[in-house]
Symmetry: C4
Subunit: 173 residues, 4 copies
Amino acid sequence: MNLIYDKLINAKAFIFDVDGVMTTGQVLVTEEGMMLRSFNIKDGYAIQHAVKAGYPICIISGGKSSGITKRFEVLGVKDIYIGQSDKQAAYDEFKTKYNLADSDIIYMGDDMPDLPIMKQVGIACCPADAAVDILQVANYISPLNGGQGCVRDILEKTLKLQKLWMNDLSFTW
Amino acid sequence: MNLIYDKLINAKAFIFDVDGVMTTGQVLVTEEGMMLRSFNIKDGYAIQHAVKAGYPICIISGGKSSGITKRFEVLGVKDIYIGQSDKQAAYDEFKTKYNLADSDIIYMGDDMPDLPIMKQVGIACCPADAAVDILQVANYISPLNGGQGCVRDILEKTLKLQKLWMNDLSFTW
Amino acid sequence: MNLIYDKLINAKAFIFDVDGVMTTGQVLVTEEGMMLRSFNIKDGYAIQHAVKAGYPICIISGGKSSGITKRFEVLGVKDIYIGQSDKQAAYDEFKTKYNLADSDIIYMGDDMPDLPIMKQVGIACCPADAAVDILQVANYISPLNGGQGCVRDILEKTLKLQKLWMNDLSFTW
Amino acid sequence: MNLIYDKLINAKAFIFDVDGVMTTGQVLVTEEGMMLRSFNIKDGYAIQHAVKAGYPICIISGGKSSGITKRFEVLGVKDIYIGQSDKQAAYDEFKTKYNLADSDIIYMGDDMPDLPIMKQVGIACCPADAAVDILQVANYISPLNGGQGCVRDILEKTLKLQKLWMNDLSFTW
């Protein structure tokens, strides 16, 4: 019995934190104080492919940069919440909008602000280098670090289990 | 018998994907949503040296940034295709332009949009950290990751086998 | 007996160097000669959480970029000294302002300009990849490198020992 | 007998390549085609300290960016050659200007354009991740990679052997 695969095979939606999950956790600060982030292209491929496959995908970040919004709009993500000092309201809104139960949702986070939702959600995931308090509550710890493909890992695993990874849409972006 | 060396010694042209091959797969997103990439100088040396040696070299990327074009123009690359959501047309055009057979071409890619051409081309190569579906079809997996010298690796191996690596042109850029 | 934990449990304030401690030690130089730094978000979380918990936190850097100031202002840090070619004056001013003894202060540095204060301060800490002369005088060497979470490590350890890590303020930023 | 320490103890001057020595070999390309580099602060500390100690220090790069010049001017380096497609002329000019013999000079390079000078110079050094043709001719291979402290390594070793590392100038920048 592999409990996590049983959960992934029934997952209906994905929520991702940004810093430390979509990125290595580094932010490049400009002289004007803007914070620039580096995103992973293999993660990006998997996100746009999951969008095309029809999954609701949600981004909830404490960060405020418009670069976050622009990155995920390009990938077709519709539910992008930035500047969320408390993530609960965004989580509830997304759940209601798509009529989802906690058990339907895969959530990947890496640090303390993610902890309350990770205790509530059905399938709590984190990168290998998540904070220790997060590692302790995760249902699935990706072998990959934040920004190094942990998002791709959980998306590819789930879509392969649900037979939606390899199809006519797989070879175009 | 070393099948891959037998193939490299007869190779006539090179095609490279960009993200995850020429780069580590990270893109730095600006506040305006522009995507900036970091390229490897040792790869760059090998590309301009191969151009001087007369090899047709082609870049096919799904990315749209003018930074990609500018990077490879500086290295002397003439066939640069960006914004290719489907890579087949660019591949066919390059093959026809230089009168090449599939078996003459080394192609290095790292993710799903590269898969159809990697099944067609004579010498399919990928970085060590390519997607698992790519690793399975590659004729040669470089020991180096994307952006960490995998392009240099395949160019240096091929030009050394073809006795075109070390000559009067090797010490100037 | 664990001497370092005995020291951390009584610490009252934190001072951090920037380059090589808050960052990996890399600076991105623009065409205009500006120096841009990448900061770690998990470090950032811990800094703003320690500020909320009431600890005096001080930044002393030889670097001059306004990006440094802006990064730490956002996190609530009040005592930010940049452009300090000699760090002693800033150290003395901070100590006096908050009526601190040397033994109350955790200082984390990584290179030669930090050496005199590290010999004076009560709790001298450094990242795993500090200069060898710094490693030799440190009371605590973090297992993590500069920019890879060494700041988070010392803050989290100290606040956990002092029972100020996990509380109602932990889940908002 | 340790031949390399015998050489370092008599060295009088330093010449460094930039890409792959002072940097990891990555260049960040902007939309306008400018190439931005990341430099290592521990390398920077050692360079300005060696300048203060009176060593002639020279930079010879094939790269053309003004960011290179600005980075090293700040550190007090006076002999900065950029845009050198062939490095021999700059090498000869520096040698003549300071009345140096080949055997007086430490040269650190990492790729083919450095090869002719590395065969000529008294003390040929390279980072651990230099090109294979460079590794073969080096008198000293630093255990550190380009941009990861290989420049600091050779400067610190030499100045410690020559008793010029630790003094009143060591703690200010």
